[in-house]
């Protein structure tokens, strides 16, 4: 009989096509242009083919406008809150093009190193410092100035397309390319280092992981510590202890557990009711 650890749940085969189709649709301006819609994933609107708006870019610009008398950015906040209350951080695991990019880079190595636990707090520093306080005080989107996704989707293609932009290249552009290169290398050795330590958008979504409708459930009595979930986790966490936590991207890959110790559930399910009753 085949080792049950080698069985692959159907949902594992669905995630990659979903990521690829989403990455295509978010960059399909030749098909449709919906740049007034904040799609909850890190997809830079400086990309020549971007078809939706980046919620983090929109948030920073709105905060900058706010200091000059603009309104509270309730449209941007509402678009993020409404969806993450339902699906938590699943956008990172299923829909984000930069998450896909890191997942593909991670395939270059079989074994990955583990990032220290404190790196998980980096994304909250980025959120508060670069995406909220500095944009409000200076009206400059500071997170965008460092964002490697902006370099990948806008910083490299735009100067290639337009000679007048090539003439403007200076020190900051090289810094951004260096940050992108650092994350490319880091993504080969660590799992999703950007999502874990840098992404301010992921930091917002992670706040909703514990309360969202869609949740992950771990049954310790079924776990035999085979470590299958730890090996396959694209976020590099230990799902036995960190499932649904701040670093879990809710990709649901661990729900393919050969011993059925982890599965996808909802806040209305019996497990959640029993768990709340026993707490």
């Amino acid at each position: 009989m085949a080792d049950p650890a080698h069985r692959i749940a159907p949902r594992l085969r669905v995630r990659r096509p979903v990521q690829l189709i989403t990455a295509f649709l978010l960059n399909a301006r030749f098909l449709f242009d919906a740049r007034s819609v904040c799609f909850p994933a890190l997809n830079c609107w400086a990309c020549p083919t971007a078809s939706v708006a980046c919620p983090l870019g929109a948030l920073q610009n709105a905060l900058g406008d706010m200091r000059l008398g603009g309104p509270l950015p309730i449209y941007v906040l509402g678009s993020m809150v409404a969806i993450s209350a339902v699906i938590g951080r699943s956008m990172c695991g299923w829909l984000c093009p930069f998450g896909l990019f890191q997942d593909l880079l991670a395939r270059l190595r079989r074994r990955h190193l583990k990032l220290p636990a404190w790196t998980g707090y980096g994304k909250y520093v980025m959120l508060v410092g670069l995406a909220i306080i500095l944009p409000y005080l200076t009206s400059v989107p500071w997170f965008c100035k460092f964002c490697p996704q902006g370099t990948l989707q806008g910083g490299i293609p735009q100067p290639l397309l337009y000679a007048e932009l090539r003439a403007l290249i200076g020190g900051w552009w090289f810094l951004k390319v260096g940050i992108l290169a650092a994350f490319v290398v880091a993504s080969i050795f660590f799992r999703r280092p950007f999502c874990r330590s840098f992404c301010a958008l992921g930091a917002i979504f992670s706040l909703f992981n514990r309360i969202s409708l869609i949740r992950m459930h771990f049954s310790p009595e079924k776990c035999v510590d085979c470590m299958w979930c730890v090996r396959v986790c694209p976020a590099g966490i230990d799902p036995r202890t960190e499932l649904g936590g701040m670093n879990c991207v809710q990709c649901m890959k661990c729900a393919g557990c050969p011993y059925h110790a982890i599965h996808v559930t909802t806040a209305c399910s019996r497990e959640e009711r029993d768990g709340e009753a026993s707490a």
């Binding site: 904040c38 400086a46 906040l77 509402g78 678009s79 100035k145 100067p159 090289f174 951004k176 390319v177």
Partner: protein, 43 residues
């Protein structure tokens, strides 16, 4: 905690709706259709 997602989701929808009424989607469009020099490392 189990049902907290519901009021939070409703709050999100209400914010989204009000934001649309206040024409904030147009402001997003304005920013999104300008070339973001900060994003591409040129400003």
């Amino acid at each position: 905690m189990r049902w907290l997602w519901l009021p939070v989701a409703l709050l999100g929808v209400a914010l989204l709706w009000e934001g649309l009424r206040w024409e904030q989607a147009e402001a997003v469009w304005r920013h999104a259709t300008q070339l973001c020099l900060a994003c591409i490392g040129l400003g």
